[in-house]
Symmetry: C4
């Protein structure tokens, strides 16, 4: 782990942090972060989906007033790149989420803090700028969920991101093979004071999945409860099916995040980008839709926006940059991604995000 | 060969038995089991066909009462994973089919015993639970076929699986190159008392195939004879063409098994999964259709069910688990597959097998 | 070069001669035979096109009277595998075309002797059975062409195969890199007594192609002349464009051979098999259409017949078998191919060639 | 660097200069020339697009009067292969653009001299034949652009090629990794006397792309100005979008060059060849359309013409041949390409360029 907080040589693009992190990180930690679940088929699909589209350059367009500012849920953001909720950032750097938060503040980026952060949400809030959201895993005990909500509200988080696709998270084969386990200093700081759910041993014939892991999985009723118990807008993360999208929109969610949890939940789920057009079509224009999964460059972000996203979330690159160069690395990575997006927009003749329409793309041969 | 009957380290998924078996088995035996015929094009196609589909996760569904029980031909089964008929299991383990039968009994799985088993069908029946079927190769002499039928009926087998796609089985190139031949202790125990068909040398100009290997190949008349001579339901295994499916259904067969014999009959035959939707369409909803060929995970089973199968048969994984850890290995492999299926169902929002419909899938990019 | 004329170990399929020939032949000779022209893109396409189709097995069909006999242009042949015209067979074996002819005779196969054979057409005729055709390259001097025709007629050849796609034959890169050149003992024996065309140096601005190599390329007028000057049926070899096919049919040709000269004429031409359905559609049912290019197995032959060919020609495998085991090798290769075809037919439920229709195939996934 | 000006062994096709140049050139210089931008995805796409098409041979066509002459913008050219504008040719050879110009003159080829040439446009003009065009980058100061125009007119250039797709040119990763930088003796000779634009530091929040690199990027107004200030025909290079093509045609441009700057501008732009049919359709028949990007053989040129181009430009092969054998190499490369085109045409039955229609191609399987 590198805590020198300087930009090493050889970082020309944001994705260079990926390469450097594989050298900087403990092998097991790296396998855990880089891997998804199973054989990483969905991890690979997330990346491959971007290569399926080419960007069409335009000529003679005036982009001298170009910018990437956007209004998102009442926030004015300088660029459509959010920092995705990523658990246990202490695996990457001793400053953990505090470093990430400082990078978000320095670049004006919106940070989504994870329920499973190594630092408490209050500590993260203190280090971050005003653009901060809180990612929520519903707890088996609703009192704990409510307490988390109140803490997030009190700490100035401006939206709740409810993650719904992670009731089951099978390990990545590469992490298993690397013998990864969470080190003792890596704990879910936010949950330290909540007693775990009472053990409920399975009866004969019961399934470790259906009657085990899914026992406390969130249901529609839980979503309605949440919507009724917070004044914050509630986003849902993990949407891939158009019918779910329609129902979540109808239920009153503030917006959706198209995601397969970075390929960490169901190995064999489709790429986020593959499903994006159908999801945008399902909810119609104007309803907020974000995407994560596979974004490694400004061109990737451009393609996601062209296919219907309002913004994208950056997950693994965030951790890689954190591991390589701490807060400075994360800020640098975001700056590089933003400039890559600017360059792609300028060449496609787009002076603002709303110019990035579907007809800026063509399928790759 | 490993007869230690303990689960070795490194088995996280059912498919790990494949990797471990390649180390545990004699190289020639392994080549024989792993190979199909010819250049294994159909073996590869069987696997690749599953990768062509992605599973769509669903959110907020209540699967706490989830299970995989099914009624199949009058049996109540805990899961839709049958043990495919596999010849000569002594190649894999000294306990041979007895070990497999014990695993079937322990897990409540349906076992399909092969005509070409290393142990007699009576021995297998004694070791197995009530869910047992008998796979039949029609013998050149109908008296022998009838005798086998009566023995199977007497031994409590509850269905006959007539294999029709194996009149010609060319060797696998890899088995040829490994110099595989059946060892002397590996015999077709069921057939020991049946005199072989009299030699019928070919005349000049006759074909070793048409007038040789196909001389005793089953015809429609043989199927009608069989249906008339047993009180057991008769399934047909090896169906790939929709027109055959319709005719077999009309002839009174109890159900079909979509199969290319694990790629062991015609190198260049299509993947079982590729043909499944057309076969389901041919016979309509409600008629039993099973599938084998390429199933290596619970997700694979899920995909087969989504595309029209009522259940799947597990062939090579059965042998691999047997070779690695005997009866315990086979039971463990079935348990892993079942849990993988549960996990896939839970994430796709399916609480029972009938929820696994075509719209749970989307083509992979 | 191996002139031992015995079948070496390791020949289980016809295509094994390909592998063994790469060891048995001089490297340069092998590169010349195996290569096509340029980067062998069309050579590869010929092979790949076969893999694009799967064969659908059928069940319970009676093929006990199965055979592969066919009537082709007045000949009764035991199988639809002709020996393609291949130049300079002395490169492969000292017995050259005489060995090939003996294999043809022994197996009842139809031999197509090349204008560019290392032995004279009379010598080949003496060694071959009655099923022999003569492949003609029109000579710059019509008197020479006429003389070749009369010799072929006198030697009992029963058809003329006019090759039209070889006016330009650029070298294969692999043969160039291997430094191949025709050895002194390899000459076009048929042409020894014909004075070469007078030199015609190019003027400034003239093209080595248009005004050079194409100066004596055959034209429609030459075809009409040929049809008027022989009593033998005239087949045309090298057809890929449907419009050419229609015009050749209308002109009175006996039949067509779909071919790209084994990828030796235009690197980047489409696979023979790719064009076959359109060519069959162009000439209608009943008009003879053969195919060469990429056939390496009985299944390949089956697929060509299913897509519209009446028979196929075997080129490179012929040379490989000749190089490995002389006449015996060629005969053995033909026997293996035939049995492979029988096995494929039997499994597809085809008892005769006319049963091999388009619906025996399905696209590979 | 090889300045021996002799053809080395092993040059059988024009593309052999590519292989030899990788040995002859300084590694960093080679990386700069061979690379595009980013990960060279568009460089690869340019090549791959040609492999997607096969050429259909035709039989018995009379091509003895065949030629590749064409009228292009008032010039009579012997072949449709132009030398693309390539900057800084001193990187490849000490004689730089003078050598290229001599090769153009010797072969009658049209040369397009770059604004960024290592020699002045006047020096190049003196060495070249009458078929010479001048590629223009508009300068930040219109007075400089006007001066360049007047110099080009005075030096007898017959057309202006306005490059519009290079306002942003990110480095190639391979060039970055090779540590490439322009050596001191490599300067833009044409621009030596023009003072650079005054520095304009960015304010806080401004983008290095939108407010930096794009500050002086050409706009429609600049194109109109250019058309009004020169008597020469103006071509536009870098067109990929059909709507741009229509507008440029309407604005009075003489013709278009379909190009992605050899993959050097936007990594992820589509292949030139992929967009060509839509661009031809946009401007209609009869309007001049050229193409560059990926042409490495006469067959490639043939395919571009079949898909709608009137001629093609040769970029990297020009530099490679220059590096390997100076002026002689470039002339030889052009001769090889021309003969490859002749051979492809002859086999496709095309005696002149207008015979190269879309139906000479078929998609590769």
């Amino acid at each position: 782990m590198n805590s020198a907080n300087r930009i090493p040589p050889g970082v020309w693009n944001a994705i260079d942090y990926e390469r450097l992190a594989s050298q900087a990180m403990d092998a097991g930690h790296h396998a855990y972060v880089a891997g998804g679940c199973g054989w990483d088929a969905t991890v690979a699909a997330n990346r491959a989906a971007f290569a399926g589209w080419a960007v069409l350059p335009r000529l003679l367009r005036d982009v001298r007033a170009g910018h990437t500012r956007l209004q998102l849920a009442g926030m004015e953001l300088p660029h459509p790149l959010l920092l995705a909720p990523v658990a246990y950032q202490r695996l990457a750097h001793p400053d953990a989420e505090v470093a990430t938060a400082r990078a978000a503040q320095a670049t004006g980026s919106c940070l989504v803090a994870s329920t499973l952060s190594s630092c408490t949400l209050e500590t993260i809030a203190a280090a971050s700028g005003p653009a901060r959201w809180f990612q929520l895993y519903l707890q088996p005990d609703r009192a704990h969920s409510l307490h988390l909500l109140r803490r997030a509200e009190a700490a100035g988080y401006r939206a709740i991101v409810l993650t719904l696709d992670a009731s089951i998270q099978l390990a990545s084969r590469s992490a298993l093979q690397a013998g990864f386990s969470l080190p003792p200093d890596c704990v879910a700081a936010n949950l330290r004071d909540y007693a775990p759910a009472p053990a409920a041993p399975l009866s004969a014939g019961e399934s470790r999945i259906f009657q085990g892991a899914m026992r406390h999985a969130p249901l529609w009723d839980d979503l309605h409860w949440l919507l009724a118990h917070t004044r914050l807008p509630v986003w849902v993360k993990g949407v891939l099916h158009p019918e779910d999208a329609r129902q979540l929109q109808a239920a009153g969610c503030a917006g959706l995040i198209v995601s397969n949890h970075g390929g960490r939940s169901l190995d064999g789920a489709p790429a986020s980008l593959q499903m994006l057009p159908a999801l945008r079509a399902a909810v119609g224009a104007g309803y907020p839709v974000l995407l994560d999964g596979g974004v490694r460059s400004g061109s990737d972000a451009f393609k996601a926006l062209a296919l219907g996203a309002d913004a994208v979330l950056i997950g693994r690159l965030q951790v890689y940059a954190l591991a390589v160069a701490g807060a400075l690395g994360v800020a640098h990575m975001l700056q590089l991604l933003t400039e890559e997006l600017h360059a792609c927009m300028a060449q496609a003749g787009c002076a603002q995000l709303s110019d990035i329409t579907h007809d800026t793309l063509t399928p790759s041969c």
